[in-house]
Symmetry: C3
Subunit: 344 residues, 3 copies
């Protein structure tokens, strides 16, 4: 289920280049993005004359000219030129999507334009906050965004899927889950455990650590992770992170189609900000980690496609993702007029 | 919509070789072609015994022997041998298609055999007329033949899609369109304009030219182009082509399926007939031009497949292709007994 | 039609390795196989928690642990561990398949477990009988197993499809066909004919031979071939094989899906048992032969897919395969309680 009245990431800001149309399937609709006098704009990627993708065209005098017969559309989608004739009042416009650029991303509003309140955009400040050093990419995953949301909201998979960042016992860690408005938080501690390899290397830990793994779901399709570890017994659970390293991860899932996803991720740290070796270690670990997830997620999607009605069971570690699913269903059923920024 | 009672090109004559079966999907039906004592013949490419393509078999004693169990069919499709038994009266024949060879092409009649009048075959004489030097090929385009017919009958696309042969202002050139029987002609002039690069090179034009671009649609699926240019002001619009170069293009579109097309093209000239460098220039330009069309057409087809009911609009430069579509619809609705050669 | 209450080959025994999950689509269902303390076991390859293939997991303490969240299943399919909680009574089991290992194959029962009588397994003893030297492989054919069964039960295709082992006149050889319970035998002799190339080489035949080609269909999906040749006139038809070479071929077809097949084959001989050159000649000939069949079968499948209702005809050489089809239909219609080992 693609939540309709919501902001999704369309692209990294650097992907949308001045006067260069970029075609991308988003929320099962073809959309063309470009930048005009610095401002990112987005239209339905389909000329209203003969259906050709407008992303095959070019920007001429600030408007998007179809590459087939030269019909032109402005940034609001109005048809402003039809070669060989004047432009009649009845000329079919292209649908324009509200776009906002924030924290290094171009966000687009998929639903009713009148409700496109930028305050509803998920907080992604760590992506470009000078207090954090961030790496990030976009990968295309052949699995539904719901499966990725579920993946991230079930902490126990880290233990089984990701040897570099998982810890034995994560599945048994107590979840402290809390719904706050439409956000769902879930916090986990593992005390006095071996540092997982990636953390040990990044933080030079040689002895046991206290590690935390906290998730926050933000509608429609974002999961923010706060994770890290501290030298065991130095008070991290009580809030002292002076002996800790911390990472903030953003997971921004935009449906490409109902069963494929543009997965934008950001992996930020608040230590060794200018150490390029650490940046590189994080990038490599992140890529390996996402490939581990990809194998699971794409196999799961194929399995569900093959037999969508086979019975499945919920287990204890699904508690958070079950609430997340319920929140998403509530939002889908909610009348448009009740669309307001989430509680926090 | 595939017009059923009509001649289509099945193959170049040189593709149909003595005693060598050639399987090809034509009009959404598998057909096997071969040449027997010089004559091209064609059957349904499906053995009536177990459905195996007959094109996997071989010609034995002048008949086509299935490669699986040796059942044989003659050029009329009669089952003439069943190994291991006699041939019963009830043996299922293979469907035979009326075939005519003309101007270097093998044409097949897709509909009721009784109406297969060779006079209905589109005029393609420039393909093998000694007064013309012709190059040609077959390409497979993943777009419906209707989209290619429309492409060719809208002159304005040349300006936007084909930099080597297009001219600024083509979209604004007046169309003189005329329906003559089931043919649709459309003529365009651009006076005193720069010669497009391909024409300038082929004709050694250094100054401005008068160029023409005339199209004729011939049912079911042929478009003939008469195009060229003359030194500006030398009377080409009045009929004097002494200072001109002229090209005749044949575009013969045979549906492979409802949404893919065997596109046979011929690019002929009536000057520098034996100049191989000109021939090569034309071939290269033609191939580049068709690849430019392919990108548009295949993207358009995918776009239409994705959302076949999205509204589209007609514009002024569609005038000819709208008439062409109407002619094709008339033909489709016409009773078989009214099938007669077109008015010219 | 996949006969449901029947034994099929799941894998060669050597493919199922101790503690290594092997995922394979069998009878249109995903199945995971592994070996535990020497015994081959098989479950539905789908975790009952979130649908992820269990074959992505690993064997831990003798049970299969899902690679996503660590849910574990034993060899009977019981869910025996759910990380993060105890295992409730209601935990969904994975379906377990009865498995029997015999003659170098792992066989699985696809239907009701209560009827999984190992006496119903087709006789494949030549695959590991010390009196025979056997080579064999598994190939994946993109054609329905029914088409392969039909292929093998129509002797005449050998003449047309397989130049190394076919003989002119095979289509005309008389078939002596006999149904014995659910088995269907068919015997053919060609007397005083040239030895086909593969036989001539394997048996050093320089003159004419008497050759036989006998098939036995064994439900659900096995065809056993007894084929060979003797110096002409040395009494082979009367049972004297002293001047003969004989091959036993097993063809064990397991549906992967309704239209694709795992084709397990065994090519055994009872002469020159330790001659590696003969083994290699047989392997190469067998591979070539199966590739010849593959071209036909996969083309036939595509042809039938395209037009499943086009009329086809039966001919004399189909006699055996028509009876085989009837037997399979009888078995499909038979009440489960009548499931008993076949008559011989």
């Amino acid at each position: 289920m693609i939540l309709r009245n919501a902001w999704y990431v369309a692209a990294w800001s650097h992907e949308v280049v001045e006067n260069q149309p970029l075609g991308r399937m988003l929320c099962d609709e073809p959309i063309v993005l470009w930048r005009s006098a610095g401002r990112a704009v987005g239209l339905s990627d389909r000329c209203t004359h003969r259906g050709v993708p407008l992303s095959l065209g070019k920007i001429v005098d600030g408007v998007l000219q179809c590459g087939y017969h030269g019909v032109c559309f402005d940034a609001q989608g109005a048809c402003v030129k039809i070669p060989g004739q004047g432009v009649p009042q009845s000329a079919l416009p292209a649908r324009a999507y509200p776009l906002v650029e924030r924290h290094g991303f171009v966000w687009f509003w998929f639903g009713e334009a009148a409700y496109a309140d930028p305050d509803l955009i998920a907080d992604a400040h760590v992506a470009d906050d000078p207090g954090w050093a961030a790496v990030g990419e976009r990968i295309l995953v052949e699995a539904a965004h719901e499966l990725i949301i579920e993946n991230l909201n079930n902490h126990s998979h880290v233990q089984y899927v990701h040897p570099q960042i998982g810890s034995a016992g994560m599945a048994d860690a107590e979840s402290h889950m809390q719904r706050i408005g439409d956000h769902v938080e879930s916090k986990h501690w593992l005390l006095n455990c071996p540092a997982p390899p990636h953390f040990a290397k990044a933080g030079n830990f040689t002895g046991p650590v206290d590690r935390w793994f906290d998730t926050t779901f933000v509608p429609p399709s974002t999961v923010v992770l706060d994770l890290g570890c501290a030298v065991a017994g130095t008070g991290a659970p009580e809030g002292n992170r002076s002996e800790a390293i911390a990472f903030a991860q953003l997971h921004l899932m935009t449906p490409e189609t109902a069963t494929t996803t543009h997965y934008f991720w950001v992996y930020a740290r608040n230590f060794a900000l200018s150490d390029k070796a650490v940046t590189e270690q994080i990038r490599v670990t992140a890529q390996e980690t996402f490939e581990e997830d990809r194998v699971i997620l794409e196999s799961q999607q194929r399995s569900l496609n093959r037999d969508p009605k086979a019975p499945l069971m919920n287990i204890a570690v699904d508690a958070t993702s079950i609430v997340v699913t319920r929140v998403r269903e509530e939002i889908a059923a909610r009348p448009l007029r009740e669309l307001t920024p989430a509680a926090r």
